[in-house]
């Protein structure tokens, strides 16, 4: 058994959390203390087994009234996959117009998520 201290990142409260973990036979969270909501407890259980993050970046837009369209993953992805996904985002080019919510990349690096636009970009006047 192992005790692990974490800071919950679900909301700005940033609760300081303690998780009691069993390492064998499989990684398992036995007890969580310090959370002030259910979302937090679910996050801690996930965090111990496989930390997940939403990431934000931007993609170059051709013929847009902005040079870049800001984007994010539409769901949290494994922390360990972030740089693979970033590599695909950095090499992608899209054409204007782009609308918030547009799916710009599907399943980058085989990760079950999509890269969606978070800004409207019009066509260059």
């Amino acid at each position: 058994m192992l005790k692990k201290e974490l800071v919950c990142i679900v909301c700005p409260n940033g609760c300081q959390v303690e998780a009691l973990i069993e390492e064998t036979p499989a990684l398992k969270v036995l007890e969580v203390s310090g959370c002030t909501c259910d979302k937090g407890i679910a996050w801690v259980e996930q965090e111990i087994v496989n930390p997940m993050r939403t990431i934000a970046s931007s993609i170059v837009v051709e013929q847009g009234d902005f040079e870049l369209v800001s984007v994010r993953t539409d769901t949290a992805i494994p922390l360990g996959k972030i740089f693979e996904v970033m590599d695909i985002i950095q090499h992608k080019r899209v054409k204007a117009p782009v609308t918030i919510g547009d799916r710009l990349i599907e399943n980058p690096a085989g990760v079950p998520c999509h890269i969606i636009a978070t800004r409207n970009v019009g066509v260059q006047p």
Binding site: I9, V10, P12, R53, L79, I100, T118
Partner: protein, 414 residues
């Protein structure tokens, strides 16, 4: 010269200005003009492409541009007039505004004014950073603008001074964009930003954070070649034996924000030393009748949700001022910051309506109670598990509890 007349003029089209304008319109005011110096509305949210905005307002984690767009869409749907690429040159105490617009110089007479100009960052000069003045030294927000809006890479090996949220967010952003962030240095013994940002922006990427440590010299002639850092003692004096050189080509400064109140000063608005923003009553009217203030120009917020909420209230107050020609509710009850409280806002209240006190504590504390007292009698209180200077605290006060109050004192009891 022709003078345009408007019932309400809002200066600044960021989150505060947008929410104030929308609220004013929804409270029945038709003749509203919003002035924005940028080409687009949304203010600083446009460059804050990370997520985490709107958890209170929309119950979901939006990015800055998404959060802004919800307000921009509503603003346009309500058909509120806006002047973009227009800079306000001056504002006087009779609410006359001079602007430089695309059409040239214009004068505007406003029935009421809402100040929502936001804040700006402290620079290397503002913190008297010693050493040479090479290129490669940016405020974190300027770096964010270059990277997120202008598609410019600004450096490869980065040191960040200050652990404010923007600095932490930029540490992650630059790492994701392929730069190496060597370290974050913080003068204070605790991080200045939110704990969740230390976790998800630094710890996730193994970026070291050195507390009680600061940058004491910049090196390099054309481009930054490195910085000298050292630990500090409890009085923030450098400990000579800890001096070391950290090579880097880029230094980002995340060392605090200053409300942008030049226009307010020109109008004769009283400013508070603790917030660097206007002194306001519980309608958020400043010391000058008919001039209101909200958002980061009033006091620096950590959550945009609170900015929107505050600005909506101010929009409502401004409408009441314009339509009822009320001079001022006799806001005669002062509120003062006492034990472990750095500032409180508003600074005076009428006692006739319920209101919310915003405050910040002076130091990190655990299991405290924020107490609001009138001559020793408790009128409101809030239990808080962790109190931190980086996190604004808001406490609701009921009017019926302060009917007879003469002075309210806000303190923390642990």
């Amino acid at each position: 010269m022709q003078v345009i007349k408007r019932d309400l003029v809002i200066i600044g089209g960021g989150p505060a200005g947008l929410a104030a304008a929308i609220s004013a319109r929804k409270n029945g005011l038709k003749d509203i003009l919003l002035i924005e110096r940028d080409k687009i509305l949304g203010g600083i949210l446009n460059q804050c492409i990370h997520d985490g905005f709107g958890l209170h307002t929309f119950r979901e984690a939006l990015t800055g541009p998404e959060y802004a767009q919800r307000y921009i869409d509503e603003f346009h749907k309500l058909g509120i007039e806006v002047m973009l690429e227009t800079i306000v040159l001056s504002l006087d105490n009779n609410r006359q505004i001079s602007v430089s617009s695309k059409e040239g110089f214009v004068k505007i007479q406003a029935g009421a004014v809402i100040l929502s100009m936001g804040c700006r960052e402290r620079t290397a000069g503002a913190i008297s950073l010693p050493g040479t003045r090479p290129s490669g030294v940016y405020t974190a927000g300027a770096a964010q603008n270059f990277i997120n809006l202008q598609n410019k890479q600004i450096g490869n090996r980065v040191v960040i001074l200050g652990s404010g949220d923007i600095g932490l967010i930029m540490a992650r952003r630059m790492t994701l964009e392929g730069a190496t962030v060597a370290a974050v240095f913080e003068l204070l013994p605790t991080p200045s930003g939110l704990a969740r940002n230390v976790q998800q922006c630094l710890n996730d990427y193994d970026i070291p954070l050195f507390l009680s440590t600061s940058v004491f010299e910049l090196h390099g002639t054309d481009r930054l070649t490195g910085v000298t850092v050292a630990s500090v003692d409890e009085t923030f004096q450098m400990i000579e034996s800890t001096k070391r050189f950290v090579p880097c080509d880029t230094l980002l400064l995340s060392v605090g924000l200053i409300p942008e109140n030049e226009l307010s000063l020109g109008a004769g608005v009283n400013l508070e030393a603790t917030t660097s923003g206007a002194t306001v009553d519980d309608t958020y009217m400043t010391s000058v009748p008919g001039i209101f203030s909200c958002g980061n120009v009033l006091h620096v917020h950590d959550l945009v949700d609170h900015v929107s909420e505050e600005a909506a209230l101010v929009g409502q107050s401004a409408v009441r001022y314009v339509t009822q020609k009320t001079v001022r509710d006799s806001a005669s009850i002062p509120i003062e910051a006492k034990q472990d409280v750095r500032y409180v806002l508003p600074q005076t209240v009428s006692g006739k309506t319920d209101f919310t006190v915003s405050l910040r504590v002076t130091r990190p504390m655990a299991n405290g109670v924020v107490m609001i007292k009138d001559k020793g009698r408790k009128v409101a209180g809030k239990k808080i598990v962790r109190l931190h200077p980086a996190e604004m605290i808001r406490v609701k006060v009921k009017a019926k509890n302060i009917e007879t109050a003469e002075k309210l004192e806000v303190s923390v009891q642990c």
